[in-house]
C-alpha cells in the first residue's frame, strides 16, 4: 500500500512526522514556562535550588529544541511536498498565520541562543530572567499560529469558491474560525500540563532511585502543583471543545462517541468494541453524559452518524483515541490532586514508592494523551483535509516516491529519538545534582 498509492503514503508520512514533532513541540512550548516559574521562585525566595532547577532544565531543553527545530522544518516543507494541491489553495487564504509563525520562530530562536549562552554573563540574575520571557512567548505564539492553521482546516471560512477559484479572500476572518478559541487554548493548556508532569516524573524517578535530596522534593512539589492547575484547565477547555464539535463538526463527535442515531438525552459510551454489525459491545454507558458534553443540557439532541453519507463519516477508531485522552486526563487530575492534598495534610502514602511510580508513569501517559488527542482530531476530520471543501485524495501529491521517502524518514526519526534519550541521559548522569550543588548553597525547607 505504502508504495502503490501516493495518498496512503502521504498520509502515513504526515502522521509519522507530526506525531514525532508534536513530542518535541510540546516540550518546546511547555519547558520555557516551567523554567520561568522555577527561576522566578528561586529569585524571590533566594533559594539556589530553584535556580539550579531552572538551569538544569534549560540545559536539557537545548537538546530537545534542536530536534524540535529539525522535525518542524521537516513537516513545514513536507506540507508543500506531500499536499501541493492543498497548499496551493490554502496558501491563498491561510498563509498569514503560517507567515507570522515564522516570526515567532525567529524571536524564540534568537532569545534562546542568548539565554542559554549567557548564564554567567549577568551580575543581576533578574536581567537573565528577562531574556526568558521572549523565549516562552515565542514558543507559545508558534503553537498559537500553527493551531490557528489547523483550526481553519476544521472549520474553513473567510472566502468563497466560485468555479474552482478562490475569491473574496479575507485572511483575518480565516484566522478567527469557530474552531480557533477552544483548539488553541486546549493545545496550550495540555502542553503546559504535559511538560509539568514530564518534569514531575523525572523528579519522582530520581527520588525512587535513591536520591533523597530536597532538591528533587522541591522540584516534584512545584511541578505537580503546576500540573494540577493545567490539567484541570485542560479538562474544562476539553469540555468546551466537545461543545464546539457538536455545533460545527457533529460527524467527528458522533464518530468519537459511536453515536449512530440522532437522539435526545444521549448517553456517553466509554471503551467497548464494535462487532461486525456495528453493534457496540461491552461499553460503559453513562446516561445523558453525551448530551451534557455536547450542549450542557442532559435532554438536548445530539446529531448521530445516520445524518451523514457513508463516504463522509470519519473512521470509527477515533473512539479509542478519545477515550484514551479523556481517561488519562481524569487520571492525571486525580493523582496530582491527591498528591497536593497529601502533602498539605501530611498523608504518608503520597511519599510511598508505589505512588511515586504512578507519578513516573504520568509523564509518558500525558504524552500519549497529546498524541491520541491529535489522532482523534486529525483522523476524525477524514475524508476532508479542508472540511467540506477539499478531500485528502484531491490534496495529495501525484509523485510515486513518497513510500520510499517514508522509509528514510522512519530511519531518521529512530536515530533522532534514540539520540535524544542517550544524550540527555549522559548529560545528567555525568553531572548529577549533588555535584552541582557542592558549588552552591541552597535552603533546605521543602
Amino acid at each position: 500500500m505504502l508504495f502503490e498509492d501516493p495518498v496512503v503514503a502521504s498520509r502515513f508520512l504526515t502522521l509519522l512526522t507530526l506525531s514525532f514533532h508534536i513530542i518535541y513541540a510540546t516540550i518546546g512550548v511547555g519547558v520555557p514556562l516551567m523554567i520561568m516559574i522555577a527561576q522566578w521562585v528561586g529569585i524571590k525566595k533566594k533559594d539556589e535550588h530553584y535556580i539550579l532547577l531552572a538551569r538544569r532544565w534549560a540545559k536539557g531543553f537545548v537538546v530537545t529544541v534542536a530536534v524540535g527545530v529539525v522535525t518542524g522544518t521537516a513537516i513545514g516543507l513536507q506540507l508543500s511536498l506531500l499536499w501541493p494541491n492543498f497548499m496551493e489553495l490554502a496558501g491563498q487564504i491561510i498563509a498569514l498565520p503560517l507567515f507570522m509563525e515564522v516570526f515567532a520562530f525567529f524571536f524564540e530562536a534568537i532569545f534562546l541562543g542568548i539565554y542559554v549562552y549567557t548564564w554567567d554573563r549577568f551580575e543581576d540574575q533578574r536581567k537573565h530572567f528577562l531574556l526568558l520571557i521572549p523565549v516562552a512567548l515565542g514558543a507559545g505564539m508558534s503553537a498559537f499560529f500553527i493551531t490557528v492553521v489547523n483550526s481553519f482546516m476544521n472549520a474553513p471560512q473567510g472566502f468563497d469558491i466560485v468555479n474552482g477559484q478562490l475569491i473574496n479572500a479575507n485572511p483575518i476572518a480565516a484566522m478567527f474560525t469557530p474552531a480557533m478559541p477552544t483548539k488553541v487554548s486546549h493545545v496550550l493548556a495540555t502542553a503546559y500540563m504535559t511538560v509539568a508532569f514530564m518534569l514531575a516524573a523525572i523528579a519522582a524517578y530520581k527520588l525512587l532511585k535513591g536520591s533523597n535530596h530536597v532538591y528533587h522534593k522541591k522540584a516534584l512539589y512545584l511541578t505537580m502543583k503546576v500540573g494540577l492547575i493545567f490539567s484541570i484547565a485542560a479538562a474544562i477547555i476539553g469540555d468546551f471543545s466537545g461543545k464546539y464539535l457538536a455545533e460545527y463538526q457533529p460527524e467527528k463527535l458522533a464518530a468519537a462517541e459511536w453515536h449512530f442515531e440522532t437522539e435526545e438525552g444521549a448517553p456517553l459510551l466509554m471503551y467497548g468494541m464494535l462487532d461486525e454489525n456495528n453493534e457496540v459491545k461491552g461499553a460503559i454507558k453513562i446516561p445523558f453524559a453525551l448530551s451534557i458534553l455536547a450542549h450542557g443540557n442532559p435532554t438536548s439532541e445530539v446529531i448521530g452518524l445516520n445524518e451523514f453519507p457513508e463516504e463522509e463519516t470519519p473512521p470509527l477508531v477515533v473512539h479509542y483515541f478519545f477515550d484514551l485522552m479523556v481517561t488519562i486526563g481524569v487520571f492525571m487530575i486525580g493523582i496530582s490532586l491527591i498528591y497536593w492534598l497529601g502533602i498539605k495534610r501530611g498523608w504518608a502514602f503520597v511519599k510511598a514508592k508505589w505512588y511515586r511510580w504512578l507519578i513516573v508513569l504520568g509523564g509518558p501517559l500525558s504524552f500519549l494523551a497529546i498524541e491520541s488527542g491529535w489522532w482523534m482530531a486529525e483522523v476524525g476530520r477524514q475524508p476532508w483535509i479542508l472540511r467540506g471543501i477539499m478531500t485528502v485524495e484531491e490534496a495529495a501529491t501525484s509523485s510515486d516516491y513518497v513510500g520510499l521517502m517514508s522509509i528514510l524518514f522512519i530511519l531518521l526519526y529512530i536515530i533522532l529519538g534514540i539520540g535524544t534519550v542517550v544524550v540527555l541521559r549522559k548529560m545528567f548522569k555525568d553531572n548529577p545534582v549533588e555535584k552541582e550543588l557542592e558549588t552552591s548553597q541552597g535552603g533546605d525547607n521543602a
Partner: protein, 340 residues
C-alpha cells in the same frame, strides 16, 4: 513597485541571507571535519562552538522563512515545485536534520564522535547541492506535464552539464564564503593558527568560484537563450561583482583589512545573486509559471506585507542584540568571562 515585485524582492533577499549565513555554517562544518581527518582538530572546533552554536537556529529560520513565504506570496509554487521536488527536498531535509542534531548531540552534549563530525561536515556540502537543484529546475527543460501534473525528468537532470555546474558552484561558494568569513572571525578572536588556515582555504577556492560561475553563464547560452540574453543585458552587475571578487582576493592575499574583505564578499555575492534574480524575471519556473500568474490575491498580499514590516521591526533589534553579544563582543570572542 507592484506587490508581486515587492514580494519576490523580500523573498529573494531572505534567500540571499540564508545563502550567506548558511554557507558560513556549512563550510565551517566541512573544514572542521577535514581538520579532524588531517589531525589538525581543535583549530576550528572552538570557533564552531563560540560562534555557530548560538546562531544555528536563527540560520535555519531563514530557510523556513523562504519556503513559507514563497507559498504565501506565490501559492502556485507549492503546486509545481511541491510535486517535483519531493526527492531532493526530502534528502535535503534529512541532511538538515543530521546537522541540527549535531549541535544538539555533539556540541551541547559530549563532544568527540568522529563519525558524526564527519557526517556533519559532509552534509554541509550535500545540502547546498540538493537545494541548488531548485535553481536548475527553474531554468526549465527538466519538467514536463503528464495528465495535467508536472513531472521531473530525472535522466535529463542528471545528464545535464548545467545542473552539475550549478551543483559545483553551490559547493564552491559555500567553501569560499565560509573561508573568507572565518578568516576574519578567527583573526578577530586572535587565533593566529586558525586565521592562517582559513586564509589558505579562501585563496584556494577563489579561482574555482569564478571559473564555475563563468561556465554556468556559458551553458545557459544554449540551455535557456532567453535567460542568457537578459544576463548579458545586465552585464554591468556581473562585471562589478567580478571587480569586488578581485578586491576581496587581493585583501586576503595581502593579509590586510579582513573586515573590509568580508563586506566586499557580501557585495560581490549580492550583485551576482540579484543580477541572476532580475534576469530570471518574470519566471519562477520556465516556461510554466511567472510571478504574475502565480501571485496570491490582493488581500493576502497586503496582509503579508503588513506582517512582514511588523515582524521586521521586532527582528532587527533582537538580531542586533544577538550579534552584539556573540559576534562583536570582544571578551566573548577571546573566550574571557565578564559580568555585565
Amino acid at each position: 513597485m507592484t506587490l508581486e515585485i515587492l514580494g519576490i524582492t523580500v523573498l529573494w533577499t531572505f534567500l540571499f541571507g540564508y545563502i550567506i549565513v548558511g554557507s558560513i555554517d556549512y563550510g565551517a562544518g566541512f573544514f572542521n571535519a577535514y581538520s579532524i581527518i588531517t589531525r589538525k582538530q581543535h583549530i576550528l572546533s572552538n570557533i564552531i562552538q563560540r560562534y555557530l552554536s548560538p546562531v544555528w537556529e536563527v540560520t535555519n529560520v531563514f530557510f523556513v522563512f523562504f519556503f513559507v513565504g514563497i507559498v504565501g506570496f506565490f501559492p502556485e509554487t507549492a503546486y509545481y515545485f511541491g510535486t517535483i521536488f519531493l526527492i531532493p527536498g526530502s534528502i535535503a531535509l534529512i541532511l538538515l536534520a543530521i546537522r541540527g542534531s549535531y549541535y544538539a548531540f555533539e556540541t551541547y552534549g559530549n563532544r568527540g564522535h568522529k563519525g558524526y563530525a564527519f557526517m556533519y561536515g559532509l552534509s554541509g556540502l550535500l545540502i547546498p547541492a540538493s537545494l541548488s537543484i531548485v535553481l536548475t529546475i527553474s531554468e526549465g527543460g527538466f519538467v514536463y506535464m503528464e495528465d495535467g501534473n508536472p513531472v521531473l525528468d530525472y535522466s535529463a537532470l542528471f545528464t545535464s552539464p548545467l545542473s552539475w555546474s550549478i551543483v559545483i558552484l553551490s559547493i564552491v561558494s559555500v567553501l569560499y564564503i565560509s573561508a573568507v568569513f572565518l578568516t576574519w572571525y578567527a583573526n578577530k578572536t586572535g587565533d593566529q593558527k586558525a586565521t592562517n588556515l582559513m586564509r589558505r582555504y579562501a585563496l584556494i577556492w577563489a579561482l574555482p568560484l569564478i571559473i564555475t560561475s563563468g561556465g554556468i553563464v556559458y551553458e545557459l547560452s544554449f540551455h535557456n537563450p532567453a535567460h542568457y540574453e537578459r544576463i548579458i543585458d545586465l552585464w554591468w552587475m556581473f562585471g562589478l561583482s567580478f571587480l569586488l571578487w578581485l578586491a576581496t582576493v587581493f585583501l586576503i592575499w595581502k593579509r590586510k583589512n579582513y573586515g573590509t574583505a568580508v563586506w566586499l564578499l557580501f557585495g560581490q555575492f549580492a550583485l551576482a545573486f540579484y543580477g541572476f534574480g532580475i534576469s530570471h524575471y518574470p519566471y519562477l519556473l520556465y516556461p510554466y509559471l511567472t510571478i504574475h500568474e502565480g501571485f496570491t490575491n490582493q488581500a493576502m498580499a497586503i496582509s503579508l506585507v503588513f506582517v512582514f514590516i511588523l515582524g521586521f521591526a521586532l527582528l532587527i533589534p533582537s538580531l542586533y542584540l544577538l550579534f552584539k553579544l556573540f559576534l562583536f563582543d570582544k571578551d566573548y570572542l577571546e573566550g574571557r568571562k565578564k559580568k555585565e
